[in-house]
């Protein structure tokens, strides 16, 4: 026995040594080490065909033409669409994070009635009942400036005998009120920034937040020989790359523009408008360089220099931003100069009874909304217009939770832009009438429904689905559906007749007089797309691009010139309270000499009380301290001329 045992041990030792001379142990160890890297909870990549699917993104004010990067049909990123002139391959900071927002936990997951989850059928019953009870006291607030979805909503209003269609305050509205309202024009104003040899951006922060920002930046990059001048109360990012910054208070922009008109008229420029003589007399007497300098602080030499640059150019264009008066003054100047201002025709309607775009822009939301039943579409009036909107019952359509959905009675989740049909008809500012279409890129994962489909189920508007409406729209335009779905834009090179246009001389003379609030400092609110807009809070990847001039920690930062800071007794980092309108904001101070003395510059778009970790509780809401003032001569309201009192805390 002892011999066998010893032999067995010897053989075992031999086998153990022997196995070490084979790959078995080493391979097994290697495999085990690989096994330890494959825990089931480790996320893995999705594999499949990688595509760039064209569509439109409506997260920014103007909308972007994009290509959504997908793998095996699932969206994972967004880039610009080279084939579409609205993009040229570029994309704005909000739309760049479209996929992250699509997958955000702040998406609305199902219809909610007063915080309780309900079905779509129940939602339709509730709205039908409210609609029947409201009669004509129905209103719509839309945050979409360029979509055919507005035709669906306005057709519903028409069906109910209401014309209460409200757009959120935007540059397009001020421009339309000036052009079609005051000057008797038709169509939509556009600006040929790419081919202009002199561009005066009179308050339009065109390379950051005004108009079709991406197309503007592409035009700016392509226009190598053109000169760009920015006029405004603050040296914005746009001003930082233009040839010249002319400090002009926002409320003085119309007077500043008419001051330039003075030199242009003096140079003998004229326009065949019925009220040209009246206009000329008004400008030559009321807006002399001395008077403009007194009203705006802009020196006569500066006015003369800018006017000289415009007169020397063969294709100049003035791009306005701000009040209706400022827009009208700029249009008058453009007519005198005869340069790169374009008039775009409006595309044909898909729904016969829908309002025209101009009609949709007529209502003045700053004067307040009061309705028994209010539909809010992709807009956030509770955040941006906290005092203006009142309704008996509010239905909010959105794809993410906002202050407005939190306050609404009924919340109806709509698909994310990448999950729905949508379109972009001539966003304000483009040089030619442009139409782009978007089809779903990925399947909706939540219990959502297109707002237009929901509305089409409430009344007989002649269509069953929004897709049918868009087909009718494309047919009315005369575009090719397949080409549009492939990402190309339909561009219409046509100009409406402008022969009957006037210079609004009788109104402009009064409207251009600067009206300022009663606060100690002028307020220059500004928008940066990475910070957010009135309707869209900042997006997941954008906060890391927000500079210390806008946000430090959770504190908003306001900027002012050193002379202003000295006068207030504050310095860099001081905590201050800004009071204006009926609201207050807190902020930290940053000193920046690119702000007009006596003015404090504050970023719009922060201070959300509802939202994701990237926007909620970050900074403060400057919309609270904006002052709505009446531009009496034009019969409109404006935020220009807002003032604040600033106190150190």
């Amino acid at each position: 026995m002892s011999v066998a045992r010893r032999a067995f041990i010897q053989m075992s030792v031999g086998a153990t040594v022997g196995i070490l001379f084979t790959p078995t142990v080493w391979t097994a160890l290697d495999d085990v080490s690989i096994w330890t890297q494959n825990w089931p909870w480790i996320p893995t990549l999705k594999y499949g065909e990688v595509k760039g699917v064209p569509t439109v993104s409506k997260m920014c004010e103007s909308g972007c033409a994009v290509k959504v990067r997908t793998v095996a049909g699932e969206a994972f990123g967004t880039e610009g669409n080279v084939e579409n002139p609205l993009s040229g391959g570029g994309i704005c900071p909000l739309c760049a994070n479209g996929v992250q927002v699509k997958n955000s936990p702040t998406r609305i997951k199902s219809p909610m009635l007063n915080g309780k989850e309900i079905s779509w059928d129940e939602a339709r019953d509730v709205v039908s009942e409210k609609l029947a009870a409201a009669g004509s006291k129905v209103a719509v607030i839309s945050g979409d400036q360029s979509g055919t979805v507005n035709e669906v909503f306005s057709a519903l209003l028409a069906d109910k005998g209401s014309d209460a269609f409200y757009s959120m305050p935007c540059d397009m509205q001020a421009a339309d009120k000036a052009w079609t309202g005051l000057m008797g024009g038709s169509g939509q104003i556009g600006y040929d920034l790419e081919n202009a040899d002199m561009v005066l951006l009179a308050g339009a922060d065109a390379l950051e937040s005004w108009g079709p920002t991406v197309a503007n930046m592409k035009a700016f990059a392509a226009n190598e020989s053109g000169k760009f001048v920015f006029a405004g109360p603050m040296q914005t990012k746009t001003a930082s790359v233009t040839s010249k910054w002319v400090p002009v208070p926002a409320e003085g922009m119309a007077a500043f523009t008419l001051g330039i008109c003075y030199y242009v008229l003096q140079a003998g420029k004229s326009v065949p408008a019925a009220d040209f003589d009246q206009f000329k007399a008004m400008v030559m007497s009321g807006y002399t360089p001395a008077k403009v300098e007194a009203a705006t602080g802009v020196k006569a030499d500066t006015l003369a220099e800018v006017a000289k640059m415009l007169l020397a150019a063969s294709n100049p264009v003035v791009v306005p931003g701000g009040s209706v008066g400022a827009n009208a003054a700029a249009f008058a100047l453009n007519l005198l100069l005869g340069g790169g201002m374009k008039v775009l025709p409006e595309f044909g309607k898909a729904i016969e009874t829908a309002m025209s775009r101009s009609d949709m822009l007529k209502q003045d939301i700053l004067q307040g909304v009061n309705a028994d039943l209010l539909f809010v579409y992709s807009a956030n009036p509770v955040y941006a217009l906290p005092e203006q909107v009142k309704a008996g019952f509010t239905v909010a359509f959105d794809f993410v939770n906002t202050e407005t959905t939190a306050a609404a009675d009924l919340v109806l989740p709509i698909p994310h832009p990448y999950e729905r049909f949508d379109d972009l008809a001539s966003p304000y500012g483009v040089a030619a009438a442009t139409y782009s279409l978007g089809a779903p890129v990925s399947k909706a994962t939540l219990n959502v429904m297109s707002a237009a489909d929901f509305v089409l189920g409430l009344a007989d508007l002649g269509f069953e689905t929004f897709e049918e409406v868009l087909e009718a729209k494309v047919a009315a335009i005369g575009a090719d559906m397949d080409e549009l779905k492939e990402g190309a834009a339909y561009v219409l090179e046509e100009t409406p007749d402008v022969s009957g246009v006037t210079l609004a001389a009788n109104v402009l003379g009064k409207a251009a007089v600067p009206v300022k609030g009663t606060g100690a400092l002028g307020l220059a609110p500004y928008t940066l797309l990475n910070v957010g807009t009135a309707n869209q809070a900042t997006t997941p990847n954008a906060p890391c691009t927000i500079s210390n001039n806008q946000l430090v920690g959770d504190h908003m930062v306001v900027m002012m010139a050193s002379v202003t800071a000295k006068k207030l007794g504050v310095s860099v980092g001081s905590k201050v309270k800004l009071s204006g309108g009926n609201g207050e904001c807190t902020a930290l101070v940053q000193v920046f000499e690119g702000v007009l003395p006596g003015v404090v510059a504050a970023p719009l778009g922060m201070g959300h009380s509802v939202g994701d970790e990237f926007s909620k509780g970050k900074g403060d809401n400057v919309y609270k301290i904006l002052t709505v003032s009446s531009e009496a001569a034009t019969g409109t309201s404006t935020w220009a001329g807002s003032t604040v009192n600033v106190a150190k805390i």
């Binding site: 010897q10 086998a15 040594v17 022997g18 078995t24 495999d31």
Partner: protein, 248 residues
Amino acid sequence: MEERKASKRCGGALPFIIGFLAACVIGWAVIPGLFFENVEQPFRFSHSIHVEGQDMDCESCHYFRDDGSYAGFPTNEACAECHAVDPEEAMEAIAEAGIDPKDFDAIMKAEIGAIEDNLASESDEDKQAEREYVVKYLIQGEEVPWLNYQYQPDNVYFSHKAHEALNIEEMAEMKDELSSVVDPSVFDEPAEQNCNLCHLKDIDKNDTPPPFQRNILSGYSKMTMKMWKCERCHALKGQPNACYTCHK
């Protein structure tokens, strides 16, 4: 003392040598095979029918990112471009026939017109394979769980573009050094393209895919190239072997 002498006589080095040799034989010839289990592909997919018969190339079904890295197999959407069976129509026909849509054998036996009329294959054997794909996956809306012979984990970056210039005839000069990395028979009659260096030899001409050999410990394919193999080839070709070369 007597016992110790006896033990030396009866044992000595022989048991040790026997154990040593037995372990070597088992360790080299038997155990490595036990690490793998054969798993069949979801159904018979003939590369030759698609490549030679339909004039398709690798990129028709195997997707690559712009940088040449592998991006995946085709989805049903891509397959349906040719296998034009309408899932809705087929499902309606199955319901009309009173068959459980998940009873694949019954559906295949029933020879539903909405399916049979749209099969593209010619021979019975090929038709059966296509029918299996259509019934089990296409009309069910289920993507095919293909087994990837060369699967690499996400933390490995491999660009086909970076390797497309490798000349198989030049590589043949390193045949001996590469014997543990590349099947030597690949160099016997070198193919025009160098796919055979890493992929199943002449897979494009294959009519019935071989079983997927799954490692019972790691779960990876037997053909998944391990790091030392990548490094061996890189070293022989004078290419960098720094971590970041493959782990981005």
